[in-house]
Symmetry: C2
């Protein structure tokens, strides 16, 4: 059903169409979801979880290869940018839901939780960076995380809108943003 959202938007998502797209009947959808709202909520949770899972993968993979925190963070953040068609579709879905979240408390809750999760992960990375020497001591992890998360979100929409040169510029800005926080070399492992 996320395909449906990505292609035609949430307005085009009807229970009947969703069922048809999944190759099942309307009745079966009802069997699994008491209401359409539940169905939508489930989809939002699923797609948000998918992004988070991919980021976790990148993080653990990077850790295993002993890359610097800065490199790992940059890769994880870039995963949120709609740089290829797959991520464009994913972005469309999450963004459409985020828009709906303004009118739907249940969706808003998922949105807030997802955002809080991203913030916490960035803050943790910065904190680790302080301990291992990649980040200057005295840097406040929460402030830095808020800033990075903010710039990431803004860049994502800029890339999506696709003004000429936006993608390259966004990548450069993101790199600079990370570099501005992780200014040192890693001297000890404390991850």
């Amino acid at each position: 059903m996320c395909g449906l959202i990505a292609e035609r938007g949430l307005d085009a998502v009807t229970v009947a169409r969703t069922a048809s797209r999944a190759g099942i009947s309307v009745g079966l959808v009802q069997h699994y979801f008491p209401s359409k709202d539940d169905m939508l909520l489930h989809a939002f949770e699923r797609v948000s979880g998918a992004v988070a899972a991919r980021v976790a993968d990148i993080t653990s993979e990077g850790t295993r290869h002993e890359r610097s925190i800065a490199e790992i963070v940059l890769a994880a953040l870039a995963e949120h940018l709609p740089l290829d068609e797959a991520r464009r579709a994913e972005f469309r879905v999450t963004r459409v839901f985020a828009g709906r979240a303004l009118e739907n408390p249940a969706l808003a809750e998922v949105d807030a939780r997802t955002a809080a999760g991203l913030h916490a992960e960035i803050a943790r990375a910065v904190g680790n960076g302080v301990e291992c020497g990649e980040v200057e001591p005295g840097v406040d992890a929460d402030t830095a995380a808020a800033r990075v998360a903010a710039v990431l979100e803004g860049l994502a929409t800029q890339v999506y809108r696709g003004a000429p040169g936006a993608a390259d510029r966004a990548w450069e800005v993101l790199r600079a943003e990370v570099a501005a926080v992780f200014t040192g070399e890693c001297s000890q492992y404390v991850r």
Copy 2:
């Protein structure tokens, strides 16, 4: 009708309700707008224009009082943050429309134009800053504008979501962001 959107979301906006809210008949709405989509488009253009107008006011007011570009820019940017109930409502409206823009090319066009306008204004301010000495020469206005616009958008959603301390932190981050670009003193007027 923006009140309707702010209170109950776009899904609750029907032609009948909009008419009723405005104290007129359905027929009259149809007289002015050929279709509901046209009505929505008009509303989006109106609210986007309103924000832009307020920013223009702040800018010209600041210029008249000969404030530094940095101060003016900071005030103009803050206007986009949902710090009071009026701006929260406005934010809800623009955000809801931005979400719909992903499924509606006409709305997307307005969204893109608005974003491009903001970017251009920031870039112009930075360019002026370079000429008058508030910004270090060599700073690329477009890159700086992209960064500032991105962080602004991200901060706005953080403030809106209203995590504890988000508003204060956002203000601080925004101030730092502007200060990072406008590092010098104004030595000559070239606005």
